[in-house]
Amino acid sequence: MKVTIVIILFHLCVVLPLKEKKKHIRSFYFECFKTTIGESSYQHSRVNQWTTIVIEQCLGQLSSLRQPFKYIASCVIMEKTGAGLQAANSCFWDNSTDETCTVHWENSSMHCILTVCSMAI
């Protein structure tokens, strides 16, 4: 196994290398954010519901592919106030079969980061 360190620099918006399958999955994630949150303003009372819906839709879509993988989905939503945010992931797994996909989406009042890791069984 090899150690893979993936550092996501929030303010630099790192672009991950795209394969065809990943492109399709990434556009699905963007679509999830658009339909769930859209142009809504950040609301503390609704943010729990938004993260739940986005994550459930993503995991639902991945599990319907019926592939021998375990999945971990993580969603971060932060209100836009000028505060600094830094996120990092590190993974100890099998580089040849496991991978991660991170999507950053934003509207006028919040930043959203969705990270999905898939690990072969």
């Binding site: 999945y71 830094q86 990092a88």
Partner: protein
């Protein structure tokens, strides 16, 4: 959405991971104020240290460690995780830490290989 499995044979020991993560955070950012120039180094150091300590336990797991550091300005932050795995042997642990100027959330996910 997080599930904890404590004290079961063959399942993930989240208490042990909790102690490892707390110690890694304290030793990396304990006593410092939020600094944009340093935060990149801190998050990388936290995830690397946690991962190294977890791998040293020698258990048959794949690990994913995530770390989020946010400056305290009154902004709202919400994080959520969901996992599609074998709940009998896989597990996770989330630690929330803060000081006067920043919030830090570290999550450890352990996926069984055996």
């Amino acid at each position: 959405m997080d599930e904890f499995h404590n004290g079961n044979e063959g399942s993930f020991n989240s208490e042990e991971a909790d102690n490892i993560v707390k110690e890694c955070i304290e030793s990396t950012v304990g006593g410092y104020d939020y600094s944009q120039s340093q935060v990149n180094k801190w998050t990388a150091s936290i995830v690397e240290r946690c991962l190294t300590q977890l791998v040293k336990l020698g258990k048959p797991y794949k690990y994913i460690v995530t770390c989020t550091v946010m400056q305290k300005t009154g902004a709202g932050l919400h994080t959520a995780n969901s996992c599609y795995w074998d709940t009998a042997v896989d597990g996770s642990c989330t630690v929330r830490w803060e000081n006067r100027t920043m919030n830090c959330v570290v999550s450890v996910f352990a996926v069984s290989i055996a």
